[in-house]
Every structure is written in structure tokens, then in C-alpha cells.
Point group: C2
């Protein structure tokens, strides 16, 4: 089996241009169809629309009132009431109704005094054609209502029907096949045998395609077998306008996508200079565009948005809109490859009036970074990166209003941040009629303190043990942040040793961790749990250099718990809730205070107030009691 190790490194815009030119050469064009105008929302007109009728198509009353012969009203004024007789001088009329001979003006009902059923009095004169909408005021027959290539909006449907246009010619929706591939991929979501991975990209693609107005045809995952994949591709080339193959576009021994496209048609390009997403394939089979999209969810999503999306929009003649960008201060240094244009997801928050962008995990496999992101920071090719504090452009992917209503938290992780985050949306609506959000990034307690100092976050969840006083958090805030900062007391939680169910290696105390033959897994430096672990290990006189796995670090309790659960480690330290979530054994080693540091000025912030309200509320209390291992601390400082 030949491997496609060497990929090209073509710039994204060049790749798209070359591909579209090739599709043009091959005369791959959008087909058109006739549809009813009222089915036209979001469709693209393939020819301009001209009105068939004027609107209004008759002279029509512009007000509710009476239509009159204007000449007969000329002597009316404040002191002279003119009497008009129904059927001769006037007739009642409603807005939109036909003005008939001999009437040539409308007087509004507010200015009409009914004398009896057939007579009214007026004290205002009517000028000819007043309050009458003339024929064609809105649209004149024969006028162009909309140009070609226009994407139809709801109001356009009304305008076209006003002009009597009930049928329109539009570009056909593109039928796009989505073929997930891979022996390890399953779409049986009830069960996940070892080594299998759920198919997720194909469903994300399906939803994006629907948003694009295309018709997605998704199939179940196809195994990495040349003949089976070949047959599936040929079937879809027959029945669809375009094919997207997910995964198999890289250099693995079972990556058949490139080979298959070459065998069945032509590969125009393999490898685009974007990160993530490099191993993308652009090809054509029997006059149908076929695109190989890499498998990692992060790469797949980016390639779908930046490569597949523009191609579909160009083929569907849709406008490619500029994305809204804002300026923000980078909160962390970003290092990037010189060889690609790199797309980094960021979380945004306005802190002390400054918009701050915090880069999220760069891993290509990480879906949650995209889920949590508010924007994209693009590092151009040939740039080595950007420094913390630089003002950069961020493409918005969240709504600005949402970002402004978000309380930003950077610091230590605890499941209560998830719980408060979920309660925040509902409770803030109930309490204030306005939706507020909690965004929570996890870089450990000391990381949170530093982020607070640099003005990147509103609050910092911390659990930092003062090894001299034995107190938690307060001395750290005083030392690193000063008098302008304070603490919201949070929860007291149980820290302990986590082991696999049944505790096969018999580890129950800090002392046991030093035992030879055990595989330990640690938290990162600067985290409260690491401080506690180091404090206890040193108190017991254990040399950390002798602990196998002391350098293997995770940034969350759940990360440590998952490592123990999977059997790649025998023991780790973490909170009760993490152990309970993954059904691990838990041996208490101490209690600690998980509090929230913040600028004192922020105590009056409505988001902070809502946060405190939820923290002290009964919903959170009930949820924590169910999880176990927590106690809410009521006092504030």
C-alpha cells in the first residue's frame, strides 16, 4: 500500500480559485428550476423579477374614512361645516379599498361628524387626490422588483407577490452526499466498544449543509475497504451533485480517499496551508466535485466552513458574506507555524471595559473548544505568532450582546462552574429578563490569580492553601492582588485519592503514593490540587523524583479521573465529584475552600450579583447534595 506522505501546501485562496476555475472548465454549472414564489425563502434568483401588475393596481384609500368629491369640500373650514350626502357627495371607505368615480379624495374618519346614516358634516377641505394611494405607488407594472443572483428574504416574497409574480426561476439546491469512513467509526450511539469512536462529523456537516440551503444525503459510516468505498462513491456520483468524504484524506495506511479519486477521476489538489485542516483533497469524478475532508472534528469543522462552504455557496450562487470582526487584546501568547494560516478559537469577554480574547485549546481533535468559542483568531502564514497584550482582529462567531452579558471566569476547575453556568442562563432570564452567561476557562488557581492581575477575567476560582497559616486563598489574594481585590466564599470540598474500582493496588494514603511500581498521574503546576499534593508529599518526606508519572500532568480533576479510569494510571488526587462521576474509589485526604477572587469594584456588577445569587440559591445546593462531597460556605468577604 502506497502512502501519501507528502502533501502540497497551497494557500487557501489559491486552492479555492484553482478549483473553481477547474469546475468552470469542466462546465460544472448550477441548474435552475421554477418554484412557487412563496416557497422561495433563502433561494437565489437565476433571473431578475419584473412585476406583472402595479401595486396598488387601483387608486386606493390610504386611510379609513370617506371618499369625497374634492370640489364639494372647498368651502369647509373651522367655522363653516359643510354637509355631505351619502351616495352623491361621499361614501364610507376603508383603507386599501377602491376609489370609484366621481370621488377623488379621502377624508379621514377622525375628521368626519356623522349627522345621520346618510349625512355627514366636515370642517376641513380636501385637496384632490389627498389620502389616495395612486396606482403603482409601491410597484409599477414592468418594474424590476429584484435583480438576478439575489437571495430571497421574507419581505421579497411579499414584494414579488405584490407585483403578481407567483412563480420564479431559482438555482437548484445542491444535493451533497456526506460519506463518513473508517473502521473505528460507529453510528450506534447506544454503545461504544473499546477502540470505536462515534460518528459525529457527518451530522454536523448535515446541519451546516441545511443552513447553506443545500440538500444533504448522509450515509452510515463506510469501512476502510477500497472496494466498498469505491462502490459507495460511484453510487453517490450518480445520484448527487457533489460528494464530501470524511477522513481517509491523510497519510495513513488505510487512507484510500486520494487513491480512489485518482482512480475514478482526478485529484486537483491535496494539501492546503491551513491549520487545522491541511490534508484536504479537492477532486472531480465524472463532472461532480468531490472533497476529502480530514477526520479530526476540529479539522473537519474548519475545512467544512473554510473550504466546502465557499465552494457550495459559489456553486449555489450565494453571496459569501464578510464575517464581523472586532478588535481584542490577546490574553495569552500565541505561537504559530510559519507554514500555514492558523485558525485559533478564542473566548471573548469585556473586562474593565477592554475586550479580551483568550485562546482555547488548539488541538485538532477538540470539539469543545469550538463549542465554547466566541470567535476565531487567524494567524497568517509566515507569522510566528503574537504576544500577550497585542491588539488583534477576531472574527465573531457569537453574538456581541451575548458576549457583553457573559461573566468571565478563569482559574481552577470544579463541576460547580458547569452547574452555575447552566443555572445562570435560566435564572438570569427569570430574575432580570435578560440572558446572562458564565464562561469558564480552566488553567488552575495560580493561573486564575495571574489572569485577574492582568485584567483578563472577572472572577478567578481558586483553592490555594497557605502552608504557613493553613488558611485558604485570602493570603494569596492579599499578596498577589492587593487591597482592591476580595473574595466571594464558595464551597468547601473534599479532596482525596482516586483509584480504580475495588482499589486493586491498595492505595489509600499520601504515603502509599511513594510506593514503587505505582503509576501516578498529576495535576499541573499552579493548580490548587497540585499545591495540596506537594504540601502533603513534602510533609510525609516523599521524594517526588521517585514517583512514576509525577510529570504526567492534566489540567482538570476529570482529566486525572479519566486517566485512572482508563487504566493508564493507578492513582491520582482530586475532588470527590470527579471520582463519583467516573465511579472510582475515593479516600479523603483533606478539605479545602474553593472560592472566587475578584476586584471589589465588581461586587456591584449585575452578572456578579446574579452569580452570587445562584451560588447561595437552593437549586445549586440541591444539585451539590446529590453529587456529594460539597458544602456551600455562606459568609462573604
Amino acid at each position: 500500500m502506497e502512502r501519501n506522505i507528502y502533501l502540497s501546501n497551497t494557500d487557501l485562496d489559491v486552492a479555492l480559485k484553482q478549483y473553481m476555475e477547474r469546475l468552470n472548465e469542466l462546465n460544472i454549472q448550477s441548474k435552475v428550476e421554477i418554484i412557487m414564489t412563496w416557497d422561495g425563502n433563502k433561494r437565489v434568483l437565476s433571473r431578475p423579477v419584473f412585476s406583472k401588475f402595479s401595486s396598488p393596481n387601483h387608486n386606493a384609500a390610504a386611510m379609513d374614512g370617506i371618499m369625497v368629491v374634492s370640489e364639494k369640500t372647498y368651502s369647509a373650514n373651522e367655522v363653516n361645516t359643510v354637509k355631505l350626502n351619502r351616495g352623491r357627495d361621499f361614501e364610507y371607505i376603508n383603507t386599501g379599498h377602491l376609489i370609484v368615480d366621481p370621488y377623488d379624495a379621502v377624508i379621514m374618519i377622525e375628521d368626519v361628524m356623522a349627522i345621520d346614516d346618510n349625512q355627514v358634516g366636515i370642517n376641513v377641505q380636501a385637496s384632490p387626490w389627498q389620502h389616495i394611494r395612486p396606482i403603482g405607488e409601491d410597484i409599477v407594472a414592468g418594474e424590476m422588483i429584484l435583480p438576478e443572483n439575489h437571495t430571497i428574504r421574507p419581505i421579497d416574497i411579499g414584494a414579488m407577490l405584490s407585483g403578481g409574480v407567483a412563480e420564479i426561476q431559482v438555482f437548484q439546491k445542491l444535493k451533497v452526499a456526506v460519506i463518513p469512513t473508517g473502521n473505528e467509526i460507529t453510528d450506534n450511539y447506544g454503545d461504544l466498544p473499546l477502540g470505536k469512536t462515534f460518528d459525529t462529523n457527518s451530522w454536523t456537516f448535515k446541519a451546516i449543509l441545511e443552513d447553506f440551503g443545500a440538500i444533504p444525503i448522509r450515509v452510515s459510516p463506510v469501512p476502510d475497504v477500497y472496494e466498498i468505498l469505491r462502490e459507495e462513491i460511484l453510487k453517490k456520483v450518480e445520484s448527487c451533485d457533489m460528494i464530501v468524504i470524511n477522513a481517509g484524506s491523510s497519510a495513513g495506511s488505510m487512507d484510500y480517499t486520494k487513491q480512489l479519486i485518482e482512480d475514478l477521476g482526478e485529484v486537483l489538489l491535496h494539501g492546503i496551508a491551513i491549520k487545522p485542516g491541511k490534508p484536504t483533497i479537492l477532486g472531480v469524478i465524472q463532472g461532480k466535485p468531490i472533497i476529502g475532508v480530514p477526520g479530526y472534528p476540529g479539522s473537519a469543522f474548519l475545512v467544512f466552513e473554510e473550504v466546502v462552504g465557499p465552494i457550495i455557496k459559489l456553486l449555489q450562487k450565494q453571496e459569501i458574506k464578510d464575517r464581523e470582526t472586532i478588535k481584542a487584546i490577546l490574553s495569552k501568547r500565541v505561537v504559530s507555524s510559519l507554514k500555514s494560516k492558523e485558525y485559533i478559537r478564542v473566548k471573548l469577554g469585556r473586562v474593565n471595559g477592554v475586550m479580551v480574547a483568550t485562546p482555547l485549546n488548539k488541538g485538532a481533535g477538540v470539539t469543545m473548544a469550538i463549542v465554547k468559542a466566541d470567535g476565531i483568531f487567524i494567524v497568517p502564514k509566515n507569522s510566528e505568532g503574537f504576544e500577550a497584550g497585542e491588539l488583534v482582529d477576531i472574527i465573531l462567531t457569537s453574538d456581541m450582546g451575548m458576549i457583553e452579558n457573559t461573566l468571565v471566569s478563569i482559574g481552577s476547575h470544579d463541576i460547580i462552574m458547569d452547574l452555575i453556568g447552566s443555572l445562570m442562563v435560566r435564572k438570569s432570564m427569570e430574575d432580570t429578563g435578560k440572558c446572562m452567561y458564565l464562561s469558564s476557562a480552566h488553567i488552575g488557581s495560580m493561573g486564575g490569580i495571574m489572569a485577574l492581575k492582568r485584567g483578563e477575567t472577572h472572577i478567578a476560582p481558586i483553592h490555594l492553601l497557605d502552608q504557613i497559616t493553613g488558611e485558604y486563598n485570602i493570603s494569596y489574594v492579599e499578596k498577589y492582588l492587593g487591597d482592591d481585590f476580595g473574595i466571594i466564599k464558595g464551597v468547601r470540598r473534599e479532596q482525596g485519592i482516586m483509584t480504580a474500582k475495588g482499589n486493586p493496588m491498595d492505595v489509600k494514603t499520601i504515603n502509599d503514593i511513594g510506593r514503587k511500581g505505582l503509576r501516578f498521574v498529576n495535576r499541573q503546576k499552579g493548580s490548587g490540587t497540585r499545591l495540596l499534593t506537594d504540601y502533603l508529599l513534602s510533609r510525609e518526606g516523599i521524594d517526588t523524583a521517585l514517583i512514576n508519572g509525577y510529570d504526567r500532568e492534566f489540567t482538570t480533576h476529570m482529566g486525572v479521573a479519566a486517566a485512572v479510569k482508563s487504566g493508564t494510571a493507578d492513582v491520582g488526587v482530586g475532588v470527590y465529584s470527579a471520582a463519583a462521576a467516573l465511579d472510582l474509589e475515593f479516600y479523603l485526604i483533606g478539605y479545602e475552600d474553593y472560592d472566587f477572587a475578584l476586584s471589589k469594584a465588581l461586587f456591584e456588577d449585575e452578572r456578579v450579583k446574579e452569580f452570587i445569587k445562584i451560588l447561595r440559591g437552593k437549586d445549586l445546593k440541591e444539585q451539590l447534595e446529590e453529587i456529594g462531597g460539597y458544602k456551600i460556605i455562606q459568609e462573604e468577604q
Copy 2:
């Protein structure tokens, strides 16, 4: 029949607040349902989603390559190749696949030299766990993936499925009945008998409701008959979650909506302080919200966006997003009522680096103003209006990129502006790969010159006769604009007298217009046609004071033609194309040059270049030949 002349004048935000409070009191709540995750795009979660599985759920290769026992690689370096044997020291592995015992690291394929089928050599050492994605790297089992009240996006579907969540609980879509009413309203779009008007609003509402994610149930127009309307409402109260009645909400003698809601349920409010859209009714029947929306398309659309929309979103628990606003300079004075918050549609364009907002026709009946608008200018209640030149906030309704690519034209109207506007979209895509637009506002030739002088437009289409030299346009540009401005020669066109088919009043010359008993219809002052008409009338010595209808002015050729066509006037002056479009008689009175004035600096602008290319191109020539009455002038000045 009682008339509801007096409406309340409640502020919009107060009205919405009162109404939502009343719905809450009545316990009108959104129902929930369970759906498959992949059907969840755009739905709103009614509870948070927690993952069932970790992702990845096993330790997985992060690269294509070989999995190795890391200890066996430690002696590899640039000068020492370590040989590894398949099945003992290494195994080939693809991205995402399971790492099995005893392997604990991955070396990427680029660093692997195949020696034979079962042996490879490496010159790099592997540290434990390198290039391995640990269990839970993306999502840990039990972690919250999304909070409640979150509106699901495509990437969220992938994230939930990554966590093994195949079913989710969401709020039900609201089923909304749309009932158009009115004896004059028809939805037979093939034919339009005198006095009838096409139903257009209900279809616009249907499309908006779909965009909101609701389920629209539209019925054919219901006549203004109390009993029939009553029956229709009761049927829909039975089967839907909410009812929208279009028209009949005002003060006409057949406006039954308020009466019906009172008889069947409760009217909470009648009359909101917005313009257009005041006669809006908010009510409840049998626990179902029912809203009476005024009939004029402009009012209907605004009320649907500002009143019905927010109510549906609140009931569906959707986020009401802030709309993007920009700053722009008003190009015209805006006068507004003190009594209402007024919504004025504007056209935007960047001219000489400044964003300029030109208010469009304010008529409540005018759909085309909404179709052509790029934004909304809101004049607050208690404001009398704003002066030209003031910097104001505009809510964007078009894409900024589209606005930046728009060539702004203000001046005289001719059908070639429509034709070029339509060609511009397609041709610019073909020529430059970028979509460009032409926006065209019609305020006459002198209006165009003045707009150009004030910097509100890029080009001004003009046809201004110099009564001394007999030449067109050039002397006006020199006199009013100066040396920095020039002209793009446009078309020579035929001007003439327009009469009804068969010329029943026998009008063929300018002289005939002075005849007693004729009803004339004029163009507005400052238009080229008005100048020509006045010039010819004065040459013939005709006293304009004696012309019946000399003061009845329209701002377009088509407006004049439509007035003649409808029989409210016997004669008007205009171009051949307008007469031909409405099948009128046409008697030539002269030729004129319809040219484009602009700043000379703009000759290098890409939008102007594209405009000139289309003006001189064969597509436009062919279309003008088909219409007749035009000749393209080739030279430029």
C-alpha cells in the same frame, strides 16, 4: 357598527412587558419534547446536556505512524538508528485508532524508515504518551456539554454525539396560525380584478415564522364577515399555539378583529406607539396569544419584526439578539411625529470614505422601500426629527460587505438603472470574482447634482437641458460642481407625450397640452423631464397656470405613465420605455442625453469601472434595443 377610533399609545417595550407578564399569569408556557440529537439544529435545549461517554473513549493515536514501547526508543538519535520489530516493538497505527498494550507512544510516519515488511528504523526517541490522545481529552463522561436554554448549532450536534448523547429534550416549536382577512384581499395571483389586492403579508409572515423556527399554519384570506372570521379564529385556537390576524385591527367599519377578540377572550392592549404599525392588538383567547397586525405591508412587516417576533422568541425561549448598528451621516432631513417611535428605512453607501444614510419613502404601504433598504433609522418618541448631516445610529439589515461593494446612484430615473443594477451582480462576479451592486434612488436630475455636491452619492444620473446652448448636462456640472467633476456619457433617449391607447383625447404635441378639459400629470421640479417640459411649454407660450394637473407631480416616468394608464390623467411627458412598458401611445417631442455625473477621482474606482463596462457592453445594448427608444453614447468626457 361601532368604530374603534381611539387607540392607546403604549410604548413598545411597555406593551411587550405587560403582554408577557399577562401570558405568564395565565401560565402560557412552552412545552418540551424529546428529539434525536441530529434533528436538533436551531432548537433550544430545555435542560442541560451531560456527556455519557468520554471522547476519546480510549487512548488513541493522534498521528498516523507506529505505536511503540517508548523505553525501546531511548537510544535512538541522529547518529544511532534503532531497529524495531513489528508485533513486538511496534505496530502500524492510524490516527484515532486504539493504543493497545504494551505500546505507550506514537512516532509519526514521517520519522519512520521502513526496512522491510516487519522491521523499521528510527532516529528519534519517543517520550511516554507522546502523540497519544488520552481518554477524555475532548469531553469527559459526566461533563456538561451544553447549558439549558442554549440554541443548538451544527458543531453542538457533533459535540453532543461525541458524548454519546443521541436524544435531547428541547422546547417544542410554536404552531402559529396566520389568518389574512379582507374582502378586497385575494390569493389568486393569476388575475387581479379591479379593487382587489393580492395577499402578500401572510406569505412574508410564513417565511419569517420559518426563520424563527416556528411552524406557520397559513390559511387563505377570510372575508370581513364577523361569523366567518369568528369560526376561523375558534378553529385555530383549537389547533395552534398562537394566532396572528392580519388587518382588521384598525378603525374601519369592517375591522372586526378587536371586537372578536373581546367577544371570545380578552384584549390586553390596542395601539402601540410605533410608526408605522400603531393599530396593533395584543389579546388572549382560551389561553392562546392572539395578535392583530395592521394590513399595510410596511406596518405589517414592522409589527411582525418588532412585536410578534420578540413574543415568539420569548415563548420559544430563544435569545433575542442585539442587532448590529453602525454610525452614518443622514443625507436628508427627517421629520418625525412626537407621539411615536418611528422606524425609517434607509439606503447606505460609503461615499468619499463616509457612510451615508439616505432615508427611503416613509409610506406605510410601500414594500419596495423595505426591499431596497440596508438599514433602519429609529427616531425616538418625543423627537421631532433630525437634520441632514447629523451622525446617527443605523440598525443594519444588509451585510456590510455588500454595502461596501455598492455603487450609490442618486438622481434621475431611467429603466437602464434597473437593467445595469441586475447585470452588475452577475457581471462583477464574472469579471472580478466579487459581487458588486448598484443602488439607485430617484429624486430627479437637480436633486442628483445636489446630492453629488453634498457627497451623498458616487454618481448622479442627469438629463439637464441648457436652454441657451441646447446642450445637455455639461454646463450644469461645470456651474454647480466645478472642475473636479466629470461626466460618463450614457444614453440618448426619446422623450414624448404619453396618452392612453388609441389616444382618445387626441393629444400629440406640446401645444395640445394647453387645451382646456385635458387632465395633465407632471414630473417633479428639478427633474430633467420637467425642465424639458417647461422649456417647450414656454417656447410655445403656454401659461402653465391654465393646465389642469400641472401641480400633480410624480417622481418617475413610470409614475406618470401609471397615472395615464389608470385614467386619472389624460396626458403626461416621459421616455419611450415607460410608455411601452404600460402599452401607452407615445409621440416624440425630442431627444435628450441621459448621462452620469461624478467626481473625476472616482474614474479609478472598481465599482465605477464595472459600471462603465456594463454600460458599454453588449448585454445592455441588446436589452435596450428590445425596449426601443435608446441609443448608447460611446464617447467619455
